[in-house]
């Protein structure tokens, strides 16, 4: 595998983790950075490997530049990390179809495209009898049609005894919270519908709009899937990512998804977890999935699971799933980024689901410079002191250098660090997390805001419905 060379088309902690995975696998890599990221740890770490392997680019989001860097440095593969090009099927397609093809470390572009569209995912899921949120399952182009669906959804909710029925209008081609509007009153539906339609047409060049019931009281669960190009499918259990910021950004994640040993649920939590895992595998099989991926689910208070979407990439919180997994004959716990790179180069998994066992509970804490009191407003400034404790139960990923001051670049989210905590059960994981947070030391110029008090407070809420 040593002849391969990976271009890491990302920044920050994911770039560092990919670098580490490459080092483990003995694969050469090339790192890129922009002018504002010059001081980032991922750049200095990459420099240790060799000055040749680090190139400055003008933007992380210009594919032309990324590809020319890949060609110039003789790379054979591109790892997109998360964000940027990770779910851009056009980028993956271009990598595969260009005259000098590159391996895109991720699923086939067809899969990214088909599962990248929420509406199409919903369409496929429905055909496989996988439950999805009630609403349209193909883009709607006419007002009359849309209104009819809206009326049906309102009636459905009224029948279910929901006092204030509510529906969501979403741009079919949208994602990440863009182009979504909630409607509680049928009279205002048309106006909202038109607004979203116009937005979708302007933003995505496709005025397809999707309408679904707005589910408000739910837990956000995920199933971590790994597939190889040889039709092997395994899962690494479930995660619960319900604790999110006001802008629906995850802040605390925990694996496994529910813990019926400690908490009381109104439904059979074990069965629900089994169900979503099996449904996820069913869909992965159907689309012939061939990389790591996350299946996002909504679990309502009465225990109904609905498939929300599929993230066809490695996720930030992947390691908590890995942390609670043990593969027979492998030590210690698996590294999903390594596995992702391996399968992208065509390797077999070398193990089956039967070889995977689960042990303990793992929590991820996202330490972000933000003012949680003021609607999670990001803080930008200079960090003068950055100390993360080092416990045997914790591991920290950060691109913020600990030995010198660091200025947070204004154009990216002010994520500072990820802490992965493990405990032999949920209670231990929770107390470990608290212990970890108590020992975090971050100082910065003029009134820095970091979210650790918020995280500390939220740890008591995890897994509780």
């Amino acid at each position: 595998m040593s002849k391969e060379k990976v271009l890491i088309a990302n920044r920050g902690e994911i770039a560092i983790r990919i670098m580490q995975a490459c080092n483990h696998l003995g694969i050469d890599f090339v790192c890129v950075y922009t002018r504002n990221d010059e001081k980032s740890l991922h750049v200095s770490l990459a420099r240790q490997k060799g000055e040749k392997n680090v190139l400055r680019i003008s933007s992380y989001t210009d594919p032309n530049e990324i590809f020319s860097v890949a060609d110039y440095t003789g790379c054979t593969a591109i790892h997109p990390g998360y964000g940027f090009f990770s779910e851009n099927f056009r980028f993956a397609r271009r990598a595969e179809l260009r005259t000098a093809p590159l391996i895109f470390i991720g699923p086939r572009w067809e899969v990214i495209r088909d599962l990248g569209s929420k509406i199409n995912t919903k369409h496929i899921a429905k055909s496989l009898n996988i439950p999805v949120i009630p609403g349209s399952d193909s883009p709607i182009y006419s007002e009359e049609e849309a209104e009819q669906i809206a009326i049906e959804l309102f009636c459905l909710q009224k029948q279910a005894g929901i006092e204030i029925p509510s529906i969501l209008i979403k741009a079919s081609a949208g994602g990440g919270g863009m182009g979504i509007e909630e409607v509680n009153n049928l009279d205002t539906f048309r106006r909202a519908y038109r607004r979203i339609q116009n937005y979708a047409r302007r933003q995505f060049g496709d005025e397809g709009v999707l309408i679904e019931q707005c589910v408000s009281d739910y837990h956000h669960l995920e199933v971590q899937i790994l597939c190889s190009q040889h039709h092997e499918i395994v899962h690494f259990g479930t995660r619960n990512c319900t604790i999110q910021s006001a802008g629906r950004q995850k802040r605390v994640e925990i694996a496994p998804g529910f813990d019926p040993d400690i908490f009381e649920y109104t439904f059979d939590a074990r069965e629900v977890l089994n169900k979503i895992v099996n449904y996820s595998i069913k869909l992965a099989k159907h689309v012939n999935y061939d990389s790591v991926g996350t299946w996002e689910w909504i679990i309502t208070r009465d225990g109904n699971p609905y498939l929300m979407e599929v993230n066809t990439r490695i996720q930030v919180e992947n390691e908590i799933s890995a942390r609670i997994s043990r593969i027979k004959g492998h030590n210690p716990y698996p590294n999903l980024i390594k596995e992702q790179i391996r399968v992208a180069f065509g390797d077999r998994l070398g193990y089956t689901q039967d070889d995977i066992t689960f042990e303990g509970t793992s929590i991820e804490l996202r330490i972000v410079a933000e003012d949680t009191q003021r609607n999670f407003r990001p803080w930008v400034g200079k960090i003068t002191r950055f100390e993360m404790p080092d416990f045997p139960f914790s591991r920290v990923y950060t691109h913020v250098p600990g030995d010198k001051s660091y200025k947070i670049p204004a154009e990216f989210d002010p994520n500072l660090a990820l802490a992965i905590i493990w405990g032999k059960d949920t209670e231990e994981a929770k107390s470990h997390s608290k212990k970890f947070l108590e020992n975090v030391n971050i100082e910065g110029e003029d009134g820095i805001f970091v979210n650790n008090p918020y995280l500390y407070k939220k740890i008591d809420e995890v897994l509780r419905f």
Binding site: N64, R90, R93, R94, R113, S117, N120, S138, E207
Partner: protein, 749 residues
């Protein structure tokens, strides 16, 4: 020396000078045939007029007269088509005002006077024209409309009408229609003033032609200088006369030469090329008569009539009256008409008659007006019918033709006979049902469902297509086969990222995802993506363009176009369906001679209109590109403007739906007629629509145009088009348009 003699001699000398000036006007050379010498001699005599003895003076004048006449003889012998252009442009030539003063009796100018005028290049006047029958005078009311070149006045703009001038013309034509008096139009224009204003030149000309096609009073037009679209703007008529020294052309010979020789702006056009073009364009009256684009020639005195040729005005009066009579009589008794025509022809040959034998009333009854319009329609539909070939040999062709005929017959019966009856039944049922009788309602309800054929709904198809899965698997442009990136022209302005070519021309349909700039795509893309799969059936594919005028070098160019494109003309006509709705499509493509329109294209368009008419289907004209009228087809090409407009007007009047969609570049004749007249015109984003290109505007108006002058947005602002469509939304917008627009007689309504 008596005063009378002196006065006469003075006059004679002055007249000789005018004649010399005229010669240099005609030949375009100051000292043609050594006229400078004669000029000097005349001036010499003028200077020493009172010092020369009478006999000597008489003799000298006689000699000078003879010398001038000799030169004139030589001018006459060496007359070339290009000289006709100069004759019509000479300041000494008669103009509309001269005609109003000399041919008509008492006239009142309408809508302005001299430079105090909406557009001094167009004159509209109420006038009377009189005929003598056995010494008694009878008067007719007419509306006279004409271009006024003026005698050197700047403000007349050389008879080049601005859009609002044409609008004025149209307004007074409608007055004539309301008052039931004939329109006499006089064409003295080098071409329309090519500005895109409110309205634009093309927009207004299209409106004029559209209205004139069905103006229910007789129209007689007379051409002295017929410059293409500008001439058509007031030139649609039942009988078209032409001055024997006039010219009528699709483009000025200089313009044609610049295009033919691919001469860059600012470079000099070689004189020989201009001569060649003037010869090949068939611009003279007799050539036009042969082509069938005019009906009759009005003889002028040798070297053309000038302001003082009173004999010519007399002839013109006779011709205008007899032409109007002829139009009137055609709508009446056939026998009467024939004998009258014979008589007039005899008179014309014998010389100018002073008297008419009969008085003909120029009023028309409703029925006669209808007949008039039918005759006008027939006249225009026949124009240019000789100038294309229709392959009839071969089994496949025979089958195709048979199929075309058979469908026409089928739809004629289905929609012509059955549908209107169904419609009537339904109307009665509707009316009765409205009465509110419960019993009747149930009965009516049943009947309705059995008759009603609702619009095919989209839902039925929704199952099989996924927006996301189908896009890459469908047709995509051959342009995608290149691994490279394209920079958007708006990159500076909007910061568009360079696009990978396969993405841009594939999935993005050639649209920049950042700013929405539309890169041009080949017409096949539209054929594949706009219509339902497998629904396209071409008709009239056997019609082929020919070298109508025998223009040098065009045969080779046409053959090359046949070979390169696999097409026989620049217009493809076919049946297709859009979400189940059957439509007739006319597609003008750039690949074949830059989408120019000639006799073949015109005929195909007319047949498509008729097909849409009998089958009651919507008619879509998708203009991938049109470069205007094909100049190599001369006035036959120009005549396609009213011809196609006539056909499409009849289709619209019959309750059809005519949608025009412009893409890339659409300019000149077609836009100024059968495309620009549609009530529903749309443009694809980043397309250009207009009358003349920037270069022509610069050359004719001397002005530089502002940026995006011809852009779709500007066309929308001017009200020329009704909307700008995104290429990716084309199909959906088209479907919406088909459902929501159009007249009552569409098959699915």
């Amino acid at each position: 020396m008596d005063g009378k003699f002196i006065q006469d001699s003075h006059k004679t000398l002055a007249d000789l000078l005018w004649r010399l000036n005229y010669i240099s006007d005609v030949k375009g050379e100051k000292n043609w045939g050594g006229i400078d010498e004669i000029h000097k001699d005349i001036q010499q005599i003028q200077n020493y007029f009172f010092d020369i003895p009478d006999e000597k003076l008489i003799e000298s004048i006689l000699v000078l007269e003879h010398r001038v006449k000799l030169v004139e003889d030589r001018v006459y012998e060496t007359l070339k088509p290009l000289d006709f252009v100069r004759i019509t442009r000479s300041p000494q030539r008669f103009t509309t005002i001269d005609i109003l003063e000399n041919v008509y009796d008492s006239y009142t100018e309408l809508g302005g006077e001299a430079d105090c005028n909406v557009d001094p290049a167009i004159v509209a006047a109420r006038a009377t024209i009189s005929r003598k029958i056995k010494g008694k005078t009878y008067r007719h009311q007419v509306m006279v409309i004409g271009h006024e070149k003026g005698s050197g006045e700047e403000y007349r703009n050389g008879g080049s009408a601005k859009p609002w001038g044409n609008e004025k013309a149209l307004r007074f034509m409608k007055v004539a229609e309301r008052e039931g008096i004939p329109v006499h139009s006089f064409i003295f224009t080098p071409g329309a003033f090519p500005i895109e204003d409110y309205p634009g030149a093309a927009q207004q000309i299209a409106r004029n032609i559209f209205e004139m096609c069905k103006l229910s009073v007789p129209i007689v037009s007379f051409i002295s200088e017929g410059g293409s679209g500008g001439a058509e703007a007031i030139g649609v008529s039942d009988i078209r006369l032409m001055a024997s020294y006039g010219y009528y052309s699709v483009i000025s010979p200089e313009g044609a030469a610049a295009i033919e020789g691919k001469i860059r702006e600012g470079q000099k056009v070689p004189h020989e090329l201009v001569e060649m073009c003037a010869n090949s364009l068939n611009i003279t009256a007799d050539k036009n008569l042969k082509l069938g684009t005019i009906d009759r020639i009005v003889e002028e005195p040798r070297l053309g009539a000038r302001k003082e040729n009173f004999e010519f005005y007399k002839r013109l009066r006779f011709e205008m009256i007899s032409a109007t009579d002829e139009i009137i009589l055609r709508t009446k008794n056939l026998k009467l008409f024939r004998s009258y025509i014979l008589e007039m022809n005899e008179k014309r040959e014998k010389g100018l008659p002073d008297d008419f034998d009969i008085q003909i009333n120029w009023d028309l009854s409703d029925w006669e007006s209808r007949k008039l319009l039918n005759l006008r329609s027939k006249k225009y539909r026949d124009i240019g019918s000789k100038f294309f070939t229709e392959k009839k040999g071969g089994l496949i062709n025979a089958f195709k033709i048979f199929k075309d005929r058979a469908t026409e017959g089928y739809y004629g019966i289905k929609y012509g006979l059955i549908r209107p009856n169904q419609r009537n039944i339904q109307r009665v049922i509707d009316d009765v049902a409205e009465e509110g009788s419960v019993i009747l309602k149930t009965v009516a309800g049943k009947a309705l469902t059995s008759i009603e054929k609702p619009v095919p709904h989209k839902e039925s198809k929704a199952e099989e297509k996924s927006v996301f899965l189908s896009d890459w698997e469908g047709y995509f442009s051959p342009l995608v086969n290149e691994d490279g990136a394209v920079t958007c022209p708006n990159a500076q302005k909007y910061g568009c990222v360079d696009q990978w070519i396969p993405d841009l021309y594939g999935e993005f349909s050639g649209v920049c995802p950042t700013c929405g700039h539309h890169f041009p795509l080949e017409y096949h893309w539209y054929i594949k993506n706009l219509f339902d799969k497998g629904s396209i059936h071409e008709f009239n594919g056997n019609l082929s363009s020919i070298n109508t005028l025998g223009f040098p070098g065009i045969d080779d160019k046409l053959n090359k176009a046949f070979k390169d494109t696999g097409l026989r003309s620049s217009m493809i006509t076919f049946d297709a369906t859009v979400e189940g709705i059957k439509v007739i499509v006319v597609m003008s493509v750039s690949d074949f001679r830059n989408g120019t329109v000639g006799a073949c294209e015109g005929e195909k368009f007319v047949r498509a209109c008729d097909r849409a008419n009998v089958s009651r289907r919507p008619l879509l004209a998708y203009i991938h590109t049109t470069g205007g009228i094909r100049i190599h087809e001369g006035t036959v090409g120009v005549a396609q403007m009213p011809k196609c407009t006539m056909a499409v007007r009849e289709y619209i009047d019959n309750g059809g739906l005519y949608i025009v969609v412009y893409d890339n570049n659409s300019f000149a004749g077609p836009v100024a007629s059968f495309l620009g007249c549609s009530p529903y015109q749309f443009a694809i984003r980043s397309s250009k629509i207009g009358f003349a290109g920037p270069r022509v505007i610069r050359e004719t108006t001397g002005q530089d145009i502002p940026p995006h002058y011809h852009g779709a947005k500007n066309a929308l602002k001017r009200g020329h088009i009704q909307g700008i469509w995104d290429r990716r939304q084309f199909r959906k917008n088209l479907y919406d348009a088909l459902i929501t627009m159009g007249g009552p007689n569409l098959y699915y309504k």
